[in-house]
């Protein structure tokens, strides 16, 4: 999978797919905004100016101001940074632990596999946002706990995908051969099994970035996410909701940002899926 000809084949397939290219463009724009937030944002995202409370859209405030007179554009820009931090670290937690558990269960099978998958089943029995909600409710709402909660709730997905993929790879002759020449187990898993089982994991990682952002914003909307005055899109929406009748515009931009970024990852993940599994498409 990692050799160059296949890599460029996949890249070419993605670039031929307009939806995937659109997704990639959104993701790159998002990364740029998050990385250079302090240089792009016209104002301090937490600076209040009550005289400008709900100031309308103008040249100075292209998205208007919120209830405390804070510049919404600047809060959106810094919010991108918050979202990216949450996405990156929570997906990292889930990826490392989930892939480890999935590879272990899938490769060795037997009782170990049985035990790991039963635990994953239990975690998966709490549908959608609920597990993250329960964890963050108990740890208390802040950025670090939010990352832990969302990371933990994403572990089963990675474990399952990895396990399935590892099981299908481990029967291949080159794995048997590696075992026959006496390579040790961990090097077989790391050098022969995982690299060949990685496509579904890459796809899952991309799509999970979308889900994780929706979950983080959802928890923010419920008041259980990043706490104000830190700029976070879901929390911004939660505040905007209180002024929906008098200042509806305040609710528009944070939601639009969430949707665009999620859409970007879903578009790209969808294209990646087609590019890595061309047979599925036809």
């Amino acid at each position: 999978m990692a050799d160059r000809s296949q890599g460029s084949l996949v890249a070419r397939r993605i670039l031929r797919n307009p939806i995937a290219v659109a997704g990639l463009a959104i993701i790159l724009g998002y990364l740029f905004i998050a990385a250079f937030a302090p240089h792009i944002a016209p104002f301090d995202p937490t600076a209040q100016d009550l005289s400008r409370s709900f100031a309308p859209i103008s040249a100075g405030n292209p998205m208007g101001c919120d209830e405390f007179g804070r510049d919404i554009l600047s809060r959106i820009i810094f919010g991108a940074r918050t979202s990216l931090i949450i996405q990156f670290f929570s997906v990292c937690i889930a990826l490392v632990i989930g892939v480890f558990l999935g590879a272990l269960g899938g490769y060795f099978g037997g009782r170990l596999d049985e035990a790991i998958m039963r635990v994953m089943d239990v975690l998966l029995a709490f549908p959608g946002i609920l597990l993250a909600l329960a964890i963050v409710a108990m740890l208390g709402p802040d950025l670090r706990n939010l990352i832990i909660a969302i990371g933990v709730y994403s572990i089963p997905q990675f474990a399952r995908i990895t396990r399935g993929s590892v099981i299908s790879v481990r029967q291949n002759d080159y794995v048997t051969a590696a075992r026959a020449i006496g390579e040790n187990q961990s090097s077989i898993i790391l050098r022969y099994v995982l690299p060949n089982a990685i496509s579904p994991i890459i796809i899952q990682t991309t799509l999970r970035m979308a889900t994780v952002l929706l979950t983080a914003a959802g928890l923010g909307f419920l008041g259980l996410g990043v706490q104000p005055p830190e700029p976070e899109w879901g929390t911004m929406l939660s505040n905007a909701r209180m002024y929906l009748r008098s200042a509806p515009m305040v609710a528009v931009f944070p939601g639009l940002s969430i949707m665009l970024v999620v859409l970007g990852f879903n578009f790209f993940g969808d294209g990646l899926q087609d590019a890595l599994n061309p047979r599925l498409k036809e």
């Binding site: 549908p127 946002i129 909600l133 329960a134 528009v252």
Partner: protein
């Protein structure tokens, strides 16, 4: 197979709240409470007993319905069950919306492959999946309740109250069902028996409706079942937007009010419901597709 999951679910709900840093009694009583109050609470709820004993008490309370809410001085189940009914009403309405729209879009996509209908349906499905439900809810509320004043903005009562929440909650599922139906329909349309049916001279409509759709819907049934569980969870957000008196909103208000027994019981009940729905889907799947047989 089922029993370990049931035990695991109750154990998880129990442990999440007990292994969390901090003293649960202090958490329940609030920061301002005196030490005596905290100690009294600790004793009243058996929090001074060993963890296994506490877990046994929790399970017993769940099964006998004696688990008490801290907020309302009444059994947690008496508070939860009516709310659960409201959530089920909402989830069923959303499933109807999602199945009708999703299957229609998926079938049209597959039968008009690579046409503008197909592309539009694919892009709309991705939009549906990517839409934050709470924002989508606010937008529709803004349009239909605040601007046009056609539909109520929240609460429960008449048929008109359920329209917006059901559409909002069903949006993501619509997208997922549409994508599933499209791909399974495309799969089926390539099968030999479809070619045979067409070769017999049957009309395209008859081939699609009688021969293809029935088989294409089998994977869709699974997705619908899985979506039902997601709807129970998605209801947390939708119910908050539309102040729908369901179990999701109860869960959030109970978390904010630190009513831990209600939080634990609600978590267990939603998880159990989800597990049973998934089991039912597995069984239904075997009934619909006689090729699938489960051993034991």
């Amino acid at each position: 197979m089922l029993i370990p999951v049931l035990v695991g679910v109750s154990l998880t709900a129990f442990l999440i709240l007990h292994l969390a840093p901090g003293d649960p009694a202090r958490l329940m009583a609030g920061v301002e409470a005196s030490q005596e109050d905290v100690d009294m609470l600790r004793h009243k709820f058996g929090l001074d007993r060993p963890l296994p004993v506490q877990y046994a008490m929790f399970v017993k309370g769940l099964v006998t319905g004696e688990l008490m809410s801290l907020r309302f001085e009444s059994p947690a189940m008496e508070i939860i069950l009516p709310k659960l009914k409201n959530t089920l009403i909402l989830a069923c309405a959303s499933i109807v919306v999602a199945v009708v729209l999703g299957v229609t879009a998926g079938v049209l996509s597959a039968t008009h492959r690579k046409s503008w209908i197909d592309y539009a349906a694919t892009i709309l499905s991705l939009f549906g999946i990517s839409m934050p439900v709470f924002w989508w809810g606010l937008l529709l509320m803004l349009l239909f309740s605040v601007k046009l004043m056609w539909l109520p903005s929240g609460g429960m009562g008449t048929f008109r109250h359920i329209i917006l929440p059901a559409v909002v909650l069903g949006t993501a599922s619509t997208g997922i069902i549409a994508r599933m139906t499209r791909s399974s329909m495309l799969d089926v349309l390539r099968q030999d028996y479809i070619t045979t049916a067409a070769a017999k001279g049957l009309t395209r409509r008859l081939v699609v409706n009688r021969h293809a759709l029935r088989n294409a819907l089998i994977p869709t049934v699974t997705v619908v079942g899985l979506q039902f569980g997601q709807l129970l969870a998605g209801a947390v957000l939708t119910e908050t937007v539309f102040t729908w008196p369901g179990i999701g909103r109860l869960l959030v208000t109970s978390i904010l009010a630190r009513d831990l027994p209600v939080v634990q019981a609600a978590l267990v009940i939603i998880a159990l419901l989800f597990v049973f729905v998934n089991l039912a889907v597995d069984i239904l799947y075997a009934v619909l597709d006689p090729r699938i047989r489960y051993n034991g």
